[in-house]
């Protein structure tokens, strides 16, 4: 399709040696969306590999020419990005001290245009030359890096001065594209009495390909070892973990919750609910409702740290961790404060189903303000969850276990559940954590079993 729009034209790249065409999958960005350099624009599936096309430039998408489901030849036009004055330099620009390309020089058509606002001071002298070699390497390497959305500075180079050579980056790209190690999904089809399963007490963010992986091969492999190749998604998850831990000082607080009233409430409603809704009511729906109430009372927890200020979110969008074969995904229940317990249950059901079918959209996984995780289904009693960025806290619900407890100086048997709350200690402190967590606990312990689910 031809277009009259001016801007950078993004074409379907060649995704493999013998690949001549690709099918457009989900558009991860829409017309009008701002994209940063290397943001994933659209998913492309071919018979050899599925990949996301990263944007070579920052700017605003002004036109999309390829429709979802269309099969197009390599080189076909996908979309047009208007870079404006190039002022949209990504805030999450990687670590390396890459000097900016000189803004005045004309560039060949295939290269990304220079980004004037990124102008770093140009290194000089011997160290400057080595620095340039390491970060910008060579035209061939830069071209390959752009084509595949790879950060040169994160690959270990075998060339002089430690620069990344063409074969270094080609090997890296090949490894990255190797078939992911697929573990057959044992996702339970029969509804469980416990909250929705999650596979690990950690969480993952949106499918933004902020690729910053290190080169494989830094650990020695011995005979008999099994080398598990990681998918891009797994690497992204790992990257997110590292980044979250590295930026936010994590502090975890726990409280025990007597779930007798909630257990009773669920006992009363579950058959009717299953008959009406077609799926099982879980404890997690109650917990999330309690979390939402507590967030309303404690807006400081529904917030995010931003260097010189804290931004308290108006919307309450609860991320719920879902385990998949190749990692975690955290779809978001938007405006959870507008939903009843049943509404929350329905939303969760929809999201987890679509997550397992790989049908989540970008909107489904973005915009979370607080995350709830559920390792308790596997029997855990305490967790130290990692915050999903950009948020300030995350709550893990642990297993509900009948324990002897002391009530009015007598021993009683109660179904007890621990709650584990990790906070970003820049935005919050122990007092805030305890208050919030206490609110959730109180809400659950005072729950009236007569309460309507709707």
């Amino acid at each position: 399709m031809s277009t009259a729009k001016t801007g950078t034209h993004i074409q379907l790249p060649k995704l493999g040696e013998s690949v001549t065409e690709g099918t457009v999958g989900a558009w991860l960005k829409q017309v009008g969306d701002h994209v940063d350099r290397y943001d994933a624009l659209v998913e492309i599936t071919t018979d050899k590999v599925n990949a996301e096309v990263p944007s070579p430039v920052a700017g605003v998408i002004v036109e999309i020419m390829a429709a979802e489901g269309e099969t197009l030849p390599v080189g076909a036009e996908l979309c047009v990005i208007d870079e404006g004055n190039g002022a949209a330099a990504s805030a999450a620009e990687p670590v390396a001290s890459a000097p900016a390309e000189p803004a005045a020089e004309p560039q060949p058509a295939e290269m990304a245009p220079p980004q004037p606002t990124e102008r770093a001071s140009r290194p000089t002298g011997e160290n400057g030359a080595m620095e340039l070699l390491r970060t910008r390497s060579s035209p061939a390497v830069r071209r390959i890096a752009e084509e595949h959305g790879v950060e040169i500075s994160q690959i270990r180079g075998s060339g002089i001065g430690g620069r990344v050579t063409k074969s270094d980056i080609l090997n890296y790209v090949d490894q990255r594209r190797a078939e992911p190690a697929v573990v057959p999904a044992e996702a339970p089809v029969a509804p469980m009495p416990y909250p929705e399963p999650a596979t690990a007490p950690t969480t993952v963010s949106s499918p933004q390909p902020e690729e910053r992986p290190t080169a494989a091969g830094q650990v020695e492999v011995y005979q008999g070892d099994k080398v598990v190749t990681l998918t891009a998604k797994q690497r992204q998850i790992a990257e997110h973990m590292v980044r979250s831990e590295r930026t936010a000082p994590h502090v975890t607080t726990w409280m025990e919750v007597d779930m007798s009233r909630v257990v009773e409430a669920r006992q009363r409603s579950k058959e009717r609910f299953a008959a009406d809704e077609g799926f099982d009511l879980t404890y997690l729906s109650y917990v999330i409702k309690g979390v939402v109430q507590a967030l309303r009372q404690h807006p400081n927890v529904n917030a995010v740290w931003d260097e010189t200020r804290v931004i308290q979110r108006k919307a309450i969008n609860i991320g719920v961790a879902v385990g998949l074969e190749d990692g975690l995904i955290v779809p978001v229940i938007r405006n959870a404060d507008e939903k009843s317990i049943a509404g929350i249950a329905r939303a969760m059901r929809d999201l987890t189903t679509r997550a397992r079918q790989n049908r989540l959209t970008v909107d489904d996984v973005q915009g979370g303000t607080f995350t709830v995780n559920n390792p308790g289904t596997f029997g855990t009693v305490l967790s130290t969850p990692i915050i999903v960025q950009p948020q300030s806290a995350i709550l893990s619900t642990e297993a509900i276990i009948k324990r002897p407890v002391v009530i009015d100086d007598s021993i009683a048997i109660r179904p007890m559940m621990n709650l584990s709350l990790s906070i970003d200690h820049r935005a919050l402190d122990g007092l805030a954590a305890a208050r919030f967590l206490g609110e959730v606990k109180r809400w659950l312990e005072r729950f009236d079993p007569e309460t309507s689910l709707y």
Binding site: P108, E110, S138
Partner: protein, 328 residues
């Protein structure tokens, strides 16, 4: 097919063409009775007579000037300059006259001459029997310049040169005359001017060369690969002007690394033009700077044997450059 030395291929092709076309004549110092100081034209005067194989006075300017005049009047002269080192007095005739006649006469006249001349060092020839000054001619529009080293290429290109309607400088490496042997087709094959040849395929580094340096480059490339090093692609330019830009560009796009080897002085030599072209056109595919190996900044090839060896690039110095380039 016959196996011939470079000098034999040239000799036989001249005989062939002079038999085929009466207007082809040979003129130069000692080409007739002596049969050429290297014996390139041995026996020609016996077959074709002294009207067609002419011993000229020792006067390069007149040799070329006469050849130009003859060519504008229906003959196809092969003018031999005994050593490229002696061509300087003829510069005015070559650059101001031969190269410009077609342009200047708006096509009314053309100048179908071939200037054959031995060039290059490594034979202990010292200052005036070793020169490689091809860069003087390769920068001149209106001239063609070829420098084959393979005997079959020499035969085919000489035919093309003789049949060409415009002046062609045909460079013969004197060290290669009796050092290079090869299979030559007997069927009158023609090699078009302006086409290079990939003599060895490879994937990591491209060597671009010509003349005896092509031989040294091949030796260095093979030594490197046998030692388990990089895979080297070697291109014999064969034609210097016009330059086969397509072939060299395709190769460097594949390998990303280029080494240009020539025995003329490195600065301002022909290889510099090749490097400039690649720098401009192959830039997005380059994985290393374009490197050149050439003669040093010394006014002439020395008479002293060790100094001559130090002047000329060889398998070792080329090999060292290949190591540096492939490790870049």
């Amino acid at each position: 097919m016959a196996t011939k030395l470079l000098i034999e291929a040239i000799h036989d092709t001249m005989v062939d063409e002079m038999r085929r076309d009466e207007s082809v004549i040979l003129m130069g110092e000692d080409v007739g009775r002596r049969g050429g100081v290297f014996r390139v034209s041995a026996g020609l005067i016996d077959e074709f007579g002294e009207n067609r194989v002419i011993d000229t006075p020792l006067a390069e300017s007149s040799i070329i000037g006469t050849a130009i005049g003859a060519s504008m009047n229906g003959l196809r002269p092969i003018a031999e300059i005994q050593f490229l080192d002696f061509i300087h007095p003829a510069m005015n005739q070559i650059l101001n006259e031969a190269a410009k006649i077609r342009y200047r006469s708006y096509g009314d006249y053309n100048c179908p001459i071939v200037i054959r001349t031995p060039y290059g060092g490594g034979v202990h020839g010292a200052l005036y029997h070793s020169q490689s000054i091809e860069a003087v001619f390769t920068r001149e529009p209106g001239l063609k310049v070829v420098a084959p080293i393979d005997p079959a290429d020499a035969a085919g290109l000489l035919r093309s040169a003789i049949r060409d309607e415009d002046p062609v400088i045909f460079l013969e490496h004197k060290k290669g005359y009796r050092a290079i042997r090869g299979e030559v087709p007997e069927n009158g094959h023609v090699v078009p001017i302006g086409k290079a040849k990939v003599v060895k395929e490879g994937s990591d580094v491209t060597i671009i060369s010509y003349g005896m340096m092509l031989q040294e480059s091949m030796a260095a490339a093979k030594a490197m690969e046998e030692g388990g090093g990089a895979s080297i692609e070697v291109i014999d330019l064969r034609s210097l002007r016009p330059l086969d830009t397509d072939t060299i560009l395709q190769s460097v796009m594949k390998t990303g690394k280029a080494l240009i080897v020539y025995e003329a002085n490195r600065f301002g030599g022909f290889g510099a033009e090749v490097a400039a072209y690649l720098a401009e056109e192959a830039f997005p595919w380059l994985d290393a700077p374009i490197m050149r190996i050439g003669g040093p900044e010394v006014p002439a090839v020395p008479y002293s044997k060790p100094l001559e060896a130090a002047f000329l690039p060889n398998q070792q110095t080329i090999g060292a450059a290949l190591e540096r380039l492939s490790a870049y």
